[in-house]
Amino acid sequence: MKLSLHTPPEVPLEAEIISPTSLSGLSEAEVSALMLHHGNRKEALGEFFTVSGKMNGRLEVEGDLSFVKLLGRDMAGGEMIIEGNVSGHLGAGMRGGHIIVNGNVQDWTGEDMTGGTITVNGNAGHMVGSGVRGAEQGMQGGQIFVHGNCKNETGGAMRRGLIVIGGNSGDFTGLNMVAGTVIVLGEMGIRTGASMKRGSVISMKPARMIPTFSYSCTYKPTFLRFYLNYLRELGFEIDDAWLTGNYQRWCGDAMALNKGEILLFQP
């Protein structure tokens, strides 16, 4: 099935029903009649999108979706391919399936997701894989791949799963992290790993450490080969030297459990 945006919303459109899971078994007419929150009013999906085709597990959405939020919320399976830029909360609470965005995404991508994969072939905003404000946990499973850059608080309070940023990340990467893995192939901003308990933040560029992280050693982490080979298969540019090279290991945050790690490639 394909949804083509014909009338861009003027205020945020809460489109949590747009996912292969929610639209499964519905006809074009039934999908067009579904109601969405457009600002503080409810309006039919057909007021914004042209619906065509049958649902067979694959959903295509196209247009300038910069005001379309919550796409793929609670998605449990199937594939959603988005052509265009997307607003926030993409794949929130996602449990399975694959969302591919050929464009940029705004904040809170993969918020509270527990499974599945989100691939962004562009840049991402703040809070990739993070929990909502006040939540004890962020992302609890699944994978988020951003081939471009992202902004602040990537992996905030994440508990499980994998986040990969092909470019640079902003400040507070891995903030309050409980476990899981964040890999930034470019540069990270300041205050990486602040208050992290466990988990790994890995970068291929030098980074400034906060004082509550302690240098442990420089060594060759064998496990990283699995991740980097996997990322190479997914189309990320992986330097051979990263596979076999040395990494500085920093332990922290001493203000928390002190069992987290930041690994920094040493050229």
Partner: protein, 298 residues
């Protein structure tokens, strides 16, 4: 039946149902991968005395291993999946984790059963161990003095075949040794099998039971040339003065059979006229689940 001057007895090898695991040991260099593999397969010639049988299946190049480092593939056999798991915990913990730069991975991804091994060994990390899960593969990073020991959380165990065998009956020691050595070399080329005995060859073949109640097995007196005049029965002819055996364990019956076939041809070629006969050990077909006939292999 004869191949050149060597008679092939019309009999069968009686083999047994076992459980097996394949582990992939990798390291920074061939040297350390092989050091760990040799250690983890030590004292593993027979389930009778060692509680498992293990051996090196083959060396692996860096593009054949999960972490793209040099490696060695090892097979380990025991009487049950639980036994395989217990032996893996003991042996990986004592022989692989101890060896510099190594890592250890499951080599049977589609096995019948999954056994917790890393899940148990991780406690060596004393709370500093960390898991990593990538695409449903869970691994443990256990801190050690040289860095980290990486291993899979679970290893596969599958039904397997143990105790395939060939007996080489020679006219004198030298040609019997040559025959057995050549057979072992040829058999090692077959995937999915190991030869658990020293150098692949055993001289102290056994029969079940003993006059001493504590012993589950004792010397195979019917094949001992020195007992030809005193044992109640001998299987040896007048010109047969030396017997060597090769035991084969494999992940499936066809691999064991293929190894036996190659072994017979290689032994005949190397042993020449000094190799009088090739036969196989069995218990009348009453104990083992697999009967691998020699003639059908040729």
């Amino acid at each position: 039946m004869k191949i050149q001057s060597t008679e092939i007895t019309d009999t069968f090898a009686e083999a047994f149902k076992m459980s097996a695991a394949r582990i992939i040991v990798t390291a920074e260099s061939d040297y350390w991968a092989m050091a760990a593999a040799q250690s983890v397969t030590g004292f593993a010639t027979s389930v009778i005395g060692c509680r498992c049988e293990a051996g090196i299946e083959k060396k692996l190049s860096s593009n054949e291993t999960p972490d793209q480092r040099p490696g060695v593939s090892v097979l380990l056999f025991a009487n049950s999946a639980k036994g395989v798991g217990n032996r893996l915990v003991e042996r990986i913990g004592q022989c692989v984790m101890t060896c510099p730069t190594t890592a250890c991975y499951n080599g049977l991804e589609d096995a019948d059963e999954s056994i917790a091994v890393g899940e148990k060994l991780r406690y060596f990390g004393d709370g500093y161990q960390a898991s990593k899960v990538l695409n449903d593969r869970k691994m443990w990073r256990i801190p050690v003095m040289e860095g980290e020991f990486l291993m899979d959380n679970a290893f596969g165990a599958q039904a397997a075949v143990g105790g395939g065998n060939l007996l080489f009956l020679g006219k004198e020691l030298s040609s019997t040794l040559k025959a057995a050595e050549a057979a072992a070399k040829a058999m090692r080329q077959v995937p999915n099998i190991i030869l658990p005995m020293p150098g692949g060859v055993v001289r102290s073949g056994s029969k079940p039971g003993s006059r001493y109640k504590a012993l589950p097995a004792s010397t195979n007196d019917a094949f001992c040339p020195t007992l030809r005049g005193s044992a109640p029965k001998t299987e040896l002819r007048d010109d047969e003065t030396c017997v060597l055996e090769i035991v084969i364990d494999g992940l499936d019956e066809s691999s064991v059979a293929d190894a036996m076939r190659r072994g017979m041809h290689a032994a005949v070629a190397a042993g020449g006229e000094g190799l009088a006969r090739i036969t196989a050990g069995n218990y009348g077909g009453n104990l083992g689940q697999y009967h691998i006939g020699l003639h059908p292999l040729l």
